[in-house]
């Protein structure tokens, strides 16, 4: 047991810190603009549970494998994908968004029920040619509350905190 006064100390920090910490490095420089912008793939094609689940989810290798059995172009990044697919090695995608432990959020409620566009919280991911090292939009409790106020959703503490 370690004393964690500073770690969980701060309602201050924790509430504000949806995407804090150091830079997130992805194993492969995935191009959202190419996939989402140009090829017009839907977000939930890769982030499978983003409409109905609790977390959006990161794509399993099988999802990549549907297109990347063989190289579609010369990109060195794609080569890594193809190698992974051929070796049946899962790609260790890193999570960008980490909720504090006491915050409970479900995509189901926000995407399936409230039909909020992904951009509202995640910013213009479709414009990104490289994986961003941090969340495009850093969300805090006030951002949640603002949206809840706008949409007349519940602003009771227990809606998100347990």
């Amino acid at each position: 047991m370690s004393p964690r006064p500073t770690a969980e100390a701060s309602a201050l920090l924790a509430a504000l810190c949806l995407a804090c910490g150091s830079e997130v490095k992805q194993p492969i420089a995935y191009d959202h603009r190419l996939h989402v912008g140009k090829l017009e793939l839907a977000c939930d094609l890769c982030h499978e549970t983003s409409s109905g689940g609790e977390v959006a989810g990161l794509p399993p290798l099988s999802t990549c494998a549907t297109c990347h059995q063989e190289a579609n172009g010369p990109s060195p990044e794609e080569k890594k994908v193809v190698e992974a697919v051929q070796a049946s090695r899962e790609i260790p995608w890193a999570r960008l968004y980490e909720l504090p432990r006491h915050v409970y959020f479900t995509h189901r409620r926000h995407v399936a029920v409230a039909r909020i566009a992904c951009e509202r919280c995640h910013g213009e991911m479709r414009q990104q040619t490289r994986p961003p090292p941090a969340a495009l939009r850093s969300l805090g409790m006030n951002d949640c509350l603002e949206c809840h106020r706008e949409r007349g959703a519940s602003r009771e503490c227990a809606t998100c905190h347990r």
Partner: protein
């Protein structure tokens, strides 16, 4: 208490005539007279360091105990369910109560123009300012999440009596500090002129350019008067809202309408006792027998006696009313104090707060320095026990069965308590080393102007006829 009542109550002269200083304005020759007041600031003996080291060690021990608690949680205390509050909250109420020593008493005496106040106000005000920190500190110590202190400001809810405390106590602290500082300015200026080096620079800064001009004096007097008036309602509010923390719940023997005045009376009571004790110590340690005289103790002793009776009246009322109400839940707490596990604390409290002070103080022959000090010591102990028997028994007898556990503080809690007392004493000592503990300029002012003023004032009380006609 009106001015008149005050003076009738204390028929003795302000000072024995043969010792009365000359009325001439102060000059070179007078300096040595008040040198005794500057001596503690300018000269320090090894005894100071020795006592300071001991107190410092105890304070550090207390700090260490708090670190233990901070690291592991409040589990290191003896608290439990249902005894969620214990010694820390007792200390909080107790220390805030002690803080009424200074500002309130000094302000009342100032407004009442009780001339004998001049040598005691400073020492009283210092108690206030310093002890408030420990009052607030005990609340912080009691918090499960001291790291979330700022939540009180960010998310404060005014429906909670605890917020009233926060506002009231912080206002009181600010007011008291100003009220302590204002009368210090002329004395700082004296020190500024007597010191060199870093101390000189400090005093120069704090003296705010005081030169003692009549205009400055006038402004200072006005400010002090304003603060004296302002600080009284704040002080009353402080202990009222402290009592409201308890009274606003529906816990048996907390939920009481007289808690506000009861707590205020208790606070002044314990405050006077603390002041007497502090004066006695200063007087003997720094040899200020000429400034803190028998008469001061005598007068404060009478005040203490009055407060003791007032406090007893409230206590009697509180317990009698509960007894006649005979609500089972209240009676459970009542009995636990009268004849249950809290009976030792309760009856010691009665002995300390009523029996001893009454016997000692109502007799003029025992109302000496020693007598008042003895009474003060018991009152301080008794008032701590009073806070204890208010905070703990109500929690120990919850309404629903199944949550009964007894509470006794652990070494951590006792250590922190000891640390608080030691740190307070140490800070008080340090204060006496930095500033004169008896107001020099007020003493001088008293010598120079007050006697004439008083003569004038006393004359104004009397019917004009005969006296007017036969002027000397």
């Amino acid at each position: 208490m009106s001015v008149r009542a005050e003076e009738q109550l204390f028929p003795a002269p302000f000072d024995e005539p043969e010792r009365a200083p000359a009325l001439a304005p102060g000059g070179e020759g007078r300096e040595p007279e008040d040198e005794a007041l500057l001596r503690p600031v300018l000269h320090t003996t090894w005894r100071f360091w020795a006592i300071g080291a001991v107190l410092g060690a105890v304070a550090l021990w207390g700090a260490n105990a708090y670190l233990v608690q901070f690291r592991w949680g409040l589990g290191v205390t003896g608290l439990n369910r249902p005894n969620y509050w214990g010694i820390y909250i007792t200390n909080f109420v107790f220390f805030i109560g002690i803080s009424h020593a200074g500002t309130l008493i000094s302000a009342i005496l100032r407004i009442a123009r009780a001339e004998w106040r001049r040598s005691i106000t400073r020492s009283a005000e210092v108690i206030t300012v310093l002890v408030i920190f420990f009052g607030i500190g005990n609340i912080l110590i009691d918090m499960g999440r001291p790291d979330r202190l700022l939540n009180v400001l960010r998310h404060g809810r005014f429906q909670s009596p605890l917020l009233w405390d926060v506002v009231s106590v912080s206002t009181y602290l600010t007011g008291s500090t100003i009220y302590l500082f204002l009368p210090l300015i002329p004395d700082i200026a004296i020190l500024r002129d007597r010191t060199a080096g870093i101390r000189h620079r400090l005093y120069r800064l704090l003296a705010l350019g005081w030169r003692g001009t009549p205009r400055q004096h006038r402004i200072l007097e006005v400010l002090i008067s304003i603060m004296a008036v302002v600080v009284i309602p704040i002080a009353v509010s402080v202990h009222t809202v402290v009592s409201f923390v308890f009274a606003m719940t529906i816990q048996p023997m907390w939920h009481s309408a007289i808690f506000g005045p009861y707590f205020v009376v208790g606070a002044i009571f314990s405050g006077i006792a603390a002041l007497i004790l502090a004066m006695a110590v200063i007087r003997s340690v720094y040899g200020l027998h000429d400034y803190l005289r028998e008469i001061h103790f005598n007068y404060l002793g009478v005040l203490l006696l009055i407060m003791s009776l007032l406090w007893s009246y409230f206590t009697f009322g509180e317990y009698l009313v509960t007894f006649y109400g005979s609500e089972p839940v209240h009676m459970a707490v009542w009995w636990s104090k009268i004849a249950g596990p809290f009976a030792p604390a309760f009856w010691t409290m009665v002995a300390c707060c009523l029996v001893v002070p009454f016997v000692v103080l109502c007799n003029r022959r025992t109302r000496t320095v020693k007598g008042t000090v003895l009474a003060s010591v018991t009152v301080i102990i008794g008032m701590w026990l009073e806070r204890w028997t208010i905070v703990v028994p109500s929690l120990s007898s919850p309404r629903l069965p199944g949550a009964a556990a007894s509470y006794f503080p652990t070494w951590v809690e006792w250590s922190i308590f000891a640390g608080c007392v030691a740190a307070f004493t140490l800070l008080y000592m340090v204060f006496t080393k930095v500033f004169p503990i008896v107001s020099i300029w007020e003493i001088r002012e008293g010598r120079e102007a007050a006697v004439l003023q008083v003569v004038e004032r006393v004359r104004s009380y009397l019917p004009p006829g005969a006296a007017e006609g036969r002027a000397p």
